[in-house]
Symmetry: C2
Subunit: 463 residues, 2 copies
């Protein structure tokens, strides 16, 4: 029988090899520290994990050497004895680069191991007229700037994850991104081969899935089961069940935008009729409000050009120089900026404009019908509205909730909460960066091996 | 590090107590035997599990004593040496009683530990006019007959599970069964207090969930992820993900019948409009085909009265006397038998009757719209049509598949298979009985404790 200090085994019914015991215990220690409400000491960790103090100390030394942990001054204690140093996740440890390609913007974001934002940049442009190679080049430029910003802050990159609004294979090929007009674009290969990301492992994933994970991990006290809806030009959903993403048979779950709401209704870009996207997608809403197309209300909405990078430090203090670096993207013309229309729509709705309010009501009604179907099927208690829905939530939530009350069989027993995302517009980039960081925390041994044994002076391969 | 023969531990990162090691190893041995392609010997089990021969023998003796295992003649081997006795799940071991209350029938079924059907009975009647207490009394009568049949075959009952078409709490209260008109009916308490089930633990679960589990376990080589659709007067769904039921936040997932397909369409019994049930439920189909209501086609469909019990033995041989026993249900009038209408509908469709074919096409179109939404959301590759949809699958599958091809974004890469259930009409009763049996196999120590140490001559508490 396992005693404190003896090696642990992993899965029921099978013995694990000695090598994987260290991997397991490294992750165990790191998990305790990441989840602690105040920095634990080595002794605290020994008590919490059942490992011996000597084992804990050896593991902690490895984790400090690999820049995954840092020691901090002891927190005051009520008990007797000299207080020990506390352990925290290192703010100078491996960071995650999150990238996002959406229909009308690109985004990059760097999160450090503690989850703090260390760099962010959003570049607004209608990307539909551009070929996929050009879009991938542009996002690689954002990646280069983000990597430079991370390097200036002394952060090695553990990896990059790219969010795209479409169906992505496990190998990182975008099979279909209807609103971008992409088919079979090998985004992982293109970014992996780009000099900007040399030596950095690149993953590619659906944007709503990554945004949902971002929401899950940002809202630590929030529910572990919810439907995250990413409202953009397309509408995607991330289904989070008991703290994990439900990806479906091929990783292609969450195509909420193509759930039929009026089976014989408007034709959709996907070839079907009556898809939710045609009633509640960003363009459908703006069109219904008279904010796109030839009408006078759409005038002046050609956009302010790309936003500059926003340097940001770890926590309230800004940590050294950051910024976008020498990028050329600012010199390119913005190709049309529908997201600006969303801000205008909110202004008009705020002012009581009937067309704006009508457009939002129609969208919310369609969204409510689709969401009611989802909730009847999955029995979820929380719906999170992300993307452009977040700033419009004030007008969307009540009618969506009304449809839910009307159509969801179980709503009478337990009302469903519909609320805006905490992450804002570039949620998927945040979720993407977070996915890299969480992979390091889940498998620290892998990072220690990659980082060449973890000697702090030696830096990391992908730094 | 764990060596063969040392006790195993259960979950990662926590030590398990000595008592639970025996529980774990009993289940491990049983799982190996249940999954074996031919009866393993004790030596085979020692090799497969990594436990010592002495440990395996002690565990096997306990399992034989508790009637969970039986020894069989050795299978011929090619190697040298005297062949050892093989071990199989005992056909005389604890059995599961499955009960089903649906809108127009009641069913009971007994499965033994090997999964063989040992008793079945279906009683057709429109149960809507009856109060819930009366319906529960009737199903308890079926339970009494099933229990008597099991007793005559020497089978102790490990428990009973009741399937109902509605929302069920973990405590077994039926919160809502719209088509039965039930609200807050404590079915678990009612059956648990009934003399017919004295001493037998009773669980209550949604019928589509149990039918989906039945399908999963009946089709051992089939997919582990699928959508099971139970087409009855109501339409329920069981979502099976990676071999496990997805129950949702409160166990109330799968209300496919209330997914909106025409948001401003026909009013539904649930209070909403345009629910799938109003287009593809059994009554909607029969009505569209002219087989219910005042029309001449519906004449002669008042039904043949309740079916008699069908005794069945373990495998091809009938094992002793069985049957319904002294039941009074046959003396009661059938209250209207819509299921008979389904058989008539199939006959008419077979003969090319335009109204029948039109009704099936309309239902399939609506079903296809709802299913397309589900598949866009969940990315499943298999849809199983159960309940009355199974005998109608010939006419339903092609149009459902056409809607899927038209509306599911991912269908182009991997066609979705739509096929009839293997279980037939009383699938939920089978699934219910199977759930009892699988609980015994998953936690044999619990059964051994319940059965009073497992001495074969002493019988079981619930026998």
């Amino acid at each position: 029988m396992a005693q404190p200090g003896t090696p642990r085994v992993g899965t029921a019914g099978t013995a694990v090899r000695q090598a994987s015991l260290r991997e397991h215990n490294l992750a165990l220690v790191l998990r305790h520290i990441a989840g602690a409400t105040r920095p634990p000491s080595r002794a605290d960790l020994a008590t919490a994990t059942g490992l011996t103090r000597a084992t804990v100390s050896a593991l902690v030394d490895d984790l400090i050497g690999g820049r995954l942990l840092a020691e901090v001054d002891p927190t005051p204690r009520t008990g007797a004895g000299r207080p020990a140093l506390g352990l925290v996740l290192s703010p100078a440890g491996p960071a995650g680069l999150g990238l996002e390609i959406n229909v009308d913007y690109l985004a990059a974001r760097v999160l450090d191991l503690t989850g703090a934002v260390r760099h962010r940049e959003v570049h607004r442009a209608d990307l539909r007229p551009l070929p996929a190679t050009e879009v991938l080049d542009r996002v690689a430029e954002l990646a280069a700037a983000a990597r430079a910003a991370a390097r200036r802050q002394g952060l090695p990159l553990a990896g990059a994850a790219l969010a795209v609004p479409g169906l992505v294979t496990p190998a990182g090929v975008v099979r279909l991104a209807p609103n971008l007009g992409w088919r079979d674009v090998d985004a992982a290969a293109a970014l992996g081969a780009h000099p900007a990301l040399a030596g950095v492992p690149v993953a590619v994933e659906n944007e709503a899935n990554l945004a949902a994970l971002g929401e899950l991990h940002t809202n630590a006290t929030g529910p572990a089961t919810f439907l995250y809806i990413s409202g953009e030009v397309g509408i995607g959903a991330g289904i989070v069940l008991h703290g994990a993403l439900f990806r479906g048979a091929r990783g292609w779950s969450g195509e909420l935008g193509h759930v039929p709401v009026h089976p014989r209704g408007r034709p959709c870009r996907c070839g079907a009729r009556g898809c939710l996207e045609q009633y509640a997608g960003q363009e459908a809403i703006l069109r219904a409000a008279g904010l796109t197309g030839p009408g006078p209300r759409a005038a002046g909405l050609t956009g302010p050009g790309p936003r500059a990078a926003e340097p940001s430090g770890p926590g309230p203090r800004a940590a050294g120089p950051s910024g976008a670096g020498p990028r050329a993207a600012g010199a390119r013309p913005a190709l049309g900026v529908p997201a600006e229309g969303v801000a205008r729509l909110a202004e008009l709705a705020e002012a009581g404009d009937p067309a704006a309010l009508g457009a939002l009501a129609e969208a919310a009604g369609a969204l409510g019908v689709a969401v009611a179907g989802v909730l009847n099927l999955l029995d979820l208690e929380t719906v999170v509205l992300g993307g452009v829905y977040a700033p419009l939530a004030r007008w969307l939530c009540p009618p969506v909730e009304a449809e839910i009350r009307r159509r969801v069989l179980t709503a009478a027993w337990s009302p469903v909460a519909v609320r805006p995302s905490l992450l804002g517009a570039d949620a998927a980039a945040t979720g993407a960066a977070g996915s890299v960081v969480r992979a390091v925390l889940a498998e620290p041994a892998r990072w220690l091996a990659t980082a060449g044994g973890g000697a702090p002076g030696r830096g990391a391969a992908a730094g």
